[in-house]
């Protein structure tokens, strides 16, 4: 049994490619679990970070520093009454959030957390991700239409127009990155997510910094388009609270609403992982050549453990800063336990066999987390675009820039 697991851990392909159904299922379950945890963590982090940007504390009551707040929210949403408007189209209303959630989760099949840490490696990986994530617009349109109400309908129309237009700029940016993968000896590029990262490894440069500044511009186009694609501030018009109350999900409540919420956050993680894979070297650690050599390898491989130890330490500092009142005893113990768990995870990550295998996943997640922070930062800083301005940005700025970058990348690829 142990040998079986070990033999798998040392394999060099993804379970999908190896045709190993069992491990593929395990991977799917792990990704599902990890994604749910990530969404919960993201919910908490968004509230806390946004709160601290806005000179307030955020959730503080449920659990130490509000750590259990997302769980409390989830329970609240699950036991809330599930309201369906009487004039709504029942079936479409029911199926819309499911479509959104399924599309948001399906894309993770091809996300490479490491050279072997993906469910499968598809020949059309990027195309698959873009295609499936573009299906979520169908769910949003249906949700808006089925509610049979004016605000959701306007939200749905805005959303469909917005997502369809930004997909084009997004696709152009992606194509210019895919072009870069073909700059090798054989001259054949690839759409496979793992292949893209491997060609970055082979070319010894992250595509964001290739043909400076072309790669960076394409990356920027994608970074803007992906915010619009996920309907987040400053492009959150489909759910603009002050205009359309809540946009396409105005009429949704309880569990169904929480599905939209889940889908929104996992879509954010999905597009961020596309950006990370295409431009920021996926699972590759930073400075693989500037700081090369076995010493640096060891130093970088220690970073995951150090990060977790640091988080645990922060939690423990929080323990000492807790009020000494008996009311807070349970919370203090809880926070201490949380810190200890984080510290133990950190220590576990120092073990050499774990250290080697976890590194890819750590760097990938760290890069995605950076994008998640950007999302929160945007939300705290920017006002919202108006609809015509949004279209103007999409069609008159991002699209020409995307085409220009594509052409210049092709020229640079031929000449250099």
């Amino acid at each position: 049994m142990l040998n079986y697991i070990k033999s798998y851990l040392d394999s060099t392909t993804t379970p999908g490619q190896a045709g190993n159904m069992f491990w593929a299922s395990v991977y799917i379950l792990l990704i599902f679990l990890g994604l749910s945890v990530a969404v919960i963590a993201m919910n908490w982090l968004e509230r806390k970070i946004l709160a601290h940007m806005q000179v307030r504390l955020g959730p503080m009551r449920v659990g130490p520093h509000g750590l259990l707040q997302p769980i409390a929210d989830a329970i609240k949403l699950l036991i809330k009454e599930d309201i369906m408007p009487s004039q709504a189209d029942g079936f479409v209303f029911w199926v819309a959030p499911i479509i959104v959630v399924i599309t948001a989760f399906t894309v993770f099949i091809v996300v490479p957390f490491g050279p072997t840490h993906a469910v499968t490696d598809m020949n059309i990986g990027v195309l698959f991700m873009l295609g499936v994530s573009s299906l979520s617009v169908l769910g949003i349109v249906m949700a808006g239409w089925a509610s049979n109400s004016h605000y959701p309908l306007m939200g749905a129309l805005r959303s469909s127009a917005q997502m369809v237009s930004y997909e084009i700029a997004m696709g152009l940016a992606v194509v210019s990155a895919v072009l870069m993968t073909s700059l090798n000896q054989t001259g054949t590029g690839t759409l496979s997510m793992i292949g893209i990262v491997q060609s970055q490894q082979a070319q010894q440069v992250w595509f964001a910094f290739k043909f400076f500044p072309l790669g960076l511009i394409a990356f920027f186009v994608f970074a803007v388009a992906m915010v619009a694609e996920t309907n987040r501030a400053p492009f959150d018009l489909p759910e603009a609270e002050s205009e359309l109350t809540a946009g396409f999900h105005t009429e949704y409540s309880g569990f169904r609403w929480s599905l939209f919420f889940l889908a929104e956050y996992s879509a954010m993680i999905a597009v961020s992982s596309i950006a990370v894979t295409l431009w920021l070297g996926g699972w590759l650690r930073p400075f693989p050549h500037l700081l090369s050599g076995s010493t640096w390898d060891v130093v970088f491989s220690l970073l995951p453990g150090i990060t977790f130890l640091l988080l645990g330490l922060i939690a423990l500092v929080g323990v000492f800063r807790m009020p000494k009142h008996p009311y807070f005893r349970v919370q203090t113990i809880g926070l201490a336990g949380f810190g200890v768990v984080l510290g133990l995870i950190g220590l576990l990550l120092f073990l050499p066999p774990v250290r080697g295998r976890i590194q890819d996943i750590f760097w990938f997640s760290a890069k995605v987390a950076f994008f998640m922070y950007l999302y929160i930062w945007y939300r705290g800083t920017f006002p919202r675009y108006r609809f015509d301005q949004l279209m103007k940005v999409g069609w008159k700025v991002l699209l020409p820039v995307g085409i220009g970058v594509l052409i210049l990348t092709a020229v640079a690829g031929v000449l250099l």
């Binding site: 306007m154 006002p383 919202r384 675009y385 609809f387 015509d388």
Partner: protein, 381 residues
């Protein structure tokens, strides 16, 4: 929708894109961005606004009618409930009107206290406006910054008269309360505290591309239209009319101070934003001058215990944060006013909404409602 209150007619050239039914949506009274219980019926072609109709009265309490059954003194706290974010200005206007009717004048020290509190209140009102306006346009952070700083003002109010919002700070004939120990020091400290904060707000918004795009050229109203509609306050000044009652017909102690009246040119939302920001700075200037020169002396004029103004009528107006706040009081010689008519700036300014949002987009309606700075308590009274 068959709403009896709705009688917008489409002009011939305003046919919708598909010639199909135009969309009619109810914005409010339960809507996050209508600042309370304003109901705006929007007639839309897709996102374009073909016409609007405001339905008001959801917060009507009959303040003017109540006045006819209260003595002059008893009615004083009621006016605080009209524009509840600028209660001091309401009280100031009412007290000065009755004083004018009675032919008494508040002592200089009382006038200075009134100016300081009224200007602090103007700051508080503008801060609330800025926060909610930015929130409407989608910037959620300025709201918390402005509320943090507005809190300091409310603390001063609380220390002075015990109430934070509906202060009832003034009485007919002057002020009831002497300033508390350390009032001047605290106000000065507040001035030092708040001056960089205004820069902070401006840093977040004034040069922010999205903010400029969202506000420039939105909800433009010309000076002529403003005057025709009776629009006053920062909205009028942003259209280029230099009309400020503090300068034009100085009341309280405003004649003693040196301050500018900021005006805009194009009369769009961005200009109104700039004008209000500048007004906040001017308010700080006035407060600084007043706190330096505040005279000693009594704070209450000799007013009879039972206020019985002579038969007559009076109209007196002040520059409230939102515009010209006027009181028309008719006295029949008894202890109760025969009629009190309030000219609320929000109510009059709200009339301009339809003119400002025609042919613009839904998102602009929100921006314009925000920039008009209405308080529904005052609109509905």
């Amino acid at each position: 929708m068959t709403d009896p209150t709705f009688h917008l007619e489409l002009q011939e050239h305003e046919k919708t894109f598909l010639d199909s039914n135009e969309l009619i949506i109810n914005m409010g009274p339960q809507h996050p961005a209508t600042h309370g219980v304003l109901r705006v019926i929007l007639k839309l072609d897709g996102e374009k606004v073909l016409g609007t109709e405001c339905v008001i009265g959801y917060l009507h309490r009959g303040v003017e009618k109540i006045a006819e059954h209260r003595t002059y003194t008893m009615f004083n706290p009621y006016v605080d409930r009209m524009d509840y974010v600028a209660a001091v200005s309401n009280g100031l206007g009412y007290c000065e009107s009755v004083e004018k009717l009675l032919n008494v004048e508040a002592p200089p020290r009382a006038k200075y206290i009134r100016v300081i509190l009224a200007e602090l209140n103007r700051l508080a009102s503008h801060m609330l406006w800025l926060g909610t306006h930015a929130l409407d346009i989608g910037a959620i952070t300025p709201l918390f910054y402005t509320f943090r700083d507005r809190e300091e003002i409310l603390k001063i109010f609380e220390k002075y008269c015990g109430a934070r919002l509906t202060t009832h700070a003034f009485r007919i004939g002057g002020c009831l309360y002497e300033t508390y120990e350390g009032f001047e020091r605290e106000v000065k400290k507040f001035l030092e505290f708040v001056t960089p904060k205004i820069g902070e707000y401006e840093e977040l918004l004034t040069t922010n591309r999205i903010w400029v795009e969202r506000t420039k050229g939105v909800g433009t109203i010309s000076a002529k239209d403003c005057i025709a509609l009776g629009v006053t306050g920062p909205v009028l000044r942003a259209s280029g009319v230099k009309w400020d009652i503090r300068k034009a017909q100085p009341y309280a102690a405003y004649a003693d101070f040196d301050f500018e009246v900021p005006i805009g040119q194009s009369g769009d939302t961005y200009d109104r934003y700039i004008v209000r920001m500048e007004e906040m700075r001017q308010s700080l200037r006035i407060i600084a001058q007043a706190i330096d020169r505040i005279p000693e002396g009594p704070i209450m004029a000799r007013v009879p215990k039972v206020i019985k103004p002579p038969v007559g009528e009076i109209y007196h107006s002040i520059e409230a944060p939102k515009g010209e706040l006027g009181y028309f009081i008719v006295s029949d010689g008894s202890t109760q006013p025969y009629r009190v008519r309030v000219r609320p700036p929000s109510f009059v300014n709200l009339q301009a909404l339809d003119l400002m949002v025609r042919d613009q987009l839904v998102a602009d309606v929100i921006a314009v409602i925000g920039t008009l700075d209405i308080v529904l308590g005052e609109v509905d009274r």
